[in-house]
């Protein structure tokens, strides 16, 4: 009799300790959650690279968890000079400005050169072919207006919890940005789309 009483009191004591610990856990989670909620964001955060920091190292092409990479070259047409001798399209040593593959900088021939009117050409990126290596971006930045820029394409990106390129980007160009302004073009019209 006595021992069963003893057991009961032991059980109720344990249950009491348990429920207080339980209570403090819920309280703790609530406190952490509440504290974070004050500066949290209802919107998702997505990864984007800052074109003004990027040095076109080529890791965007290789380090993305997707193959081919979710980072692609994007043409900001409003900054383009429509040059005949395009620093992003042609290899620097090119003699003749023809669309022959050996003249092209892009390893996958992803850039399409289209005649507009003398002497201007429009350059379009075929995103299916582009691997995001940034060679053209480097060329355009060095010899042209810098209208070719690398960006994470959000229709392709998986939005990894930690972007695999971000942790290896030598320039620290990647950051989480709010999904309502998910592109970071640099240049004249980074505010308006165009």
């Amino acid at each position: 009799m006595e021992s069963s009483d003893n057991k009961k009191s032991k059980i109720s004591r344990r249950e009491f300790i348990n429920s207080s610990v339980r209570f403090s856990i819920v309280l703790g989670i609530g406190a952490i959650g509440g504290r974070l909620l004050t500066r949290s964001h209802a919107r998702q955060m997505v990864w984007q690279l800052d074109t003004s920091k990027c040095i076109q190292c080529g890791r965007c092409a290789t380090n993305c968890v997707k193959t081919p990479s979710a980072v692609k070259c994007v043409h900001v047409y409003s900054m383009c000079g429509y040059c005949d001798l395009c620093g992003g399209y042609f290899r620097p040593e090119t003699k003749e400005l023809t669309t022959a593959a050996e003249n092209q900088l892009c390893p996958t021939s992803a850039i399409r050169r289209k005649f507009v009117e003398d002497p201007f050409f429009q350059y379009d990126i075929d995103e299916k072919l582009c691997i995001g290596c940034g060679k053209c971006v480097k060329g355009c930045g060095a010899f042209g207006n810098g209208s070719l820029q690398l960006q994470v394409r959000h229709d392709l990106c998986d939005n990894c919890n930690e972007c695999a390129i971000a942790r290896d980007c030598p320039a620290g160009a990647f950051s989480r940005v709010s999904s309502d302004s998910p592109y970071l073009f640099s240049g004249f019209d980074s505010k308006k789309k165009g």
Partner: protein
């Protein structure tokens, strides 16, 4: 008046200059005569916000259903089918991100870096499974966590491991948790995400090594049930601790255990506590001695751990990118061309002194972190020793509330029927 105008113009020009510092408009935009219309730059939108909300709704729904299956219906098949659903939804459809296991890092990162505004959905993925565990045990692990679920379907020929081995291997998750928190708090890396062995399967895309690692884990899991869950998962550590005080928990028997031993080996995770015979009552002076010993040993272990951890802080810090870069800048290797990191640093125009100062701050954080991490591990070690030396009396076969993953396999082994009153 003139002055103001001049200033405004000046400021305007300067700001224009700053704005254009990267993109130099070497060639002005042509004025087209042929009525050419410039195409817009395409900016495809990210996944819609509605999906993020859907994820949380599905999380709560699957958790509720699993909990109901485990505690009320007591039905292993139900749990199995929910695991399949979780693999399909949280695994393949969401491609593995965001998961509760990784969210630990986001929460830590947000606590230590006020600039990071953590999405509410991530807080939800961190907190909701813990709240469920506090009340119902680790039902999240039973069939909602995609990492657990994919391992669970590979549990085919589980072998029983020695209990001392379980204890020793069970220490690894604490180390992993400590390291991942340290690296998230110092904004260094999210190591849980980097070394997640299964996310490659969910994305159907990963490096060869990660595929191999995932494959090894799954194959190993045929014999050693759920190796990641039991011997690595850092979130499992939290759930393990929380689950010990859970209000309700899965029970093997629906009524009263009759000690028939049928369930004894039914748990693939070795999570069933067996009855222990009443030992002769320990002499009281022995018990006192033991408690005295522990009160000395545990603080000592914490101190030693902290000291060792702080000794290693430079090794720990070496993972950090800035620390790596600072080391290269301090010992320049002139025979080789600059690495991309150095080139990027030089072109960023940051002063070296400033950068070294920042890096010193980071290293200091690692020093403090080393103490805390080491101390924490010392404490865990001490408490594990304690739990080995403490003798728990128990009559029935019960699931261990900490390590039981609530998979409900054992239920089918119990011959006792629910008393129908």
């Amino acid at each position: 008046m003139k002055k103001t105008v001049a200033y405004t113009v000046l400021i305007f020009i300067i700001s224009l200059q700053l704005y254009n510092s990267f993109a130099v408009q070497r060639f002005p935009k042509p004025e087209f005569e042929s009525g050419y219309i410039q195409p817009p730059t395409s900016t495809p939108d990210p996944r819609s916000e509605a999906f993020a909300i859907l994820d949380v709704v599905v999380l709560i729904a699957t958790l509720s259903v699993v909990t109901w299956m485990v505690l009320k219906k007591r039905n292993r098949n139900g749990v199995f089918w929910i695991s399949i659903f979780s693999i399909a939804y949280f695994g393949f459809f969401c491609e593995g991100c965001i998961c509760a296991v990784g969210s630990v890092q986001n929460v830590t990162y947000a606590l230590f870096n006020p600039v990071y505004s953590i999405p509410i959905t991530v807080i939800a993925f961190f907190a909701i499974p813990i709240i469920f565990t506090v009340f119902f045990g680790r039902t999240f692990c039973a069939g909602v966590c995609p990492l657990g679920a994919i391992q669970d379907i590979f549990v085919l020929r589980p072998v029983t491991l020695k209990s001392w081995l379980l204890k020793v291997l069970g220490l690894i998750p604490f180390i992993y948790l400590g390291l991942s928190i340290l690296y998230a708090a110092t904004s260094t890396d999210f190591i849980i995400c980097r070394y997640d062995p299964f996310v490659g399967f969910f994305r159907l895309n990963a490096s060869f090594t990660m595929f191999m690692l995932g494959g090894i884990f799954l194959l190993l899991g045929v014999f050693i049930a759920r190796p990641y869950c039991r011997f690595l998962c850092p979130y499992g550590v939290i759930l393990n601790l929380v689950s010990r005080v859970s209000k309700k928990h899965l029970t093997i028997t629906p009524a009263k255990c009759i000690q028939c031993k049928l369930c004894e080996n039914s748990c693939p995770f070795g999570a069933i506590d067996k009855p222990v015979q009443v030992k002769e009552k320990e002499e009281s002076h022995k018990a006192v001695r033991r408690i005295m010993l522990l009160t000395i040993i545990i603080p000592l272990l914490v101190l030693i751990g902290g000291y060792v951890g702080s000794r290693f802080h430079e090794n720990l810090a070496r993972v950090n990118h800035n620390v790596q870069l600072a080391q290269i800048l301090l010992n320049p290797n002139n025979t080789q061309p600059d690495s991309f990191e150095v080139t990027a640093f030089k072109s960023s125009g940051k002063s070296t002194e400033e950068f070294f100062k920042e890096t010193a701050l980071i290293v200091n954080k690692f020093y403090i972190g080393g103490w805390i991490l080491g101390g924490f591990l010392g404490l865990v070690f001490g408490l594990t020793l304690t739990s080995l030396s403490i003798f728990k009396y128990q009559e029935d076969y019960t699931p261990n509330k900490g390590t039981c993953l609530s998979c409900a396999r054992c239920i089918d082994f119990c011959p006792v029927k629910e008393d129908e009153r």
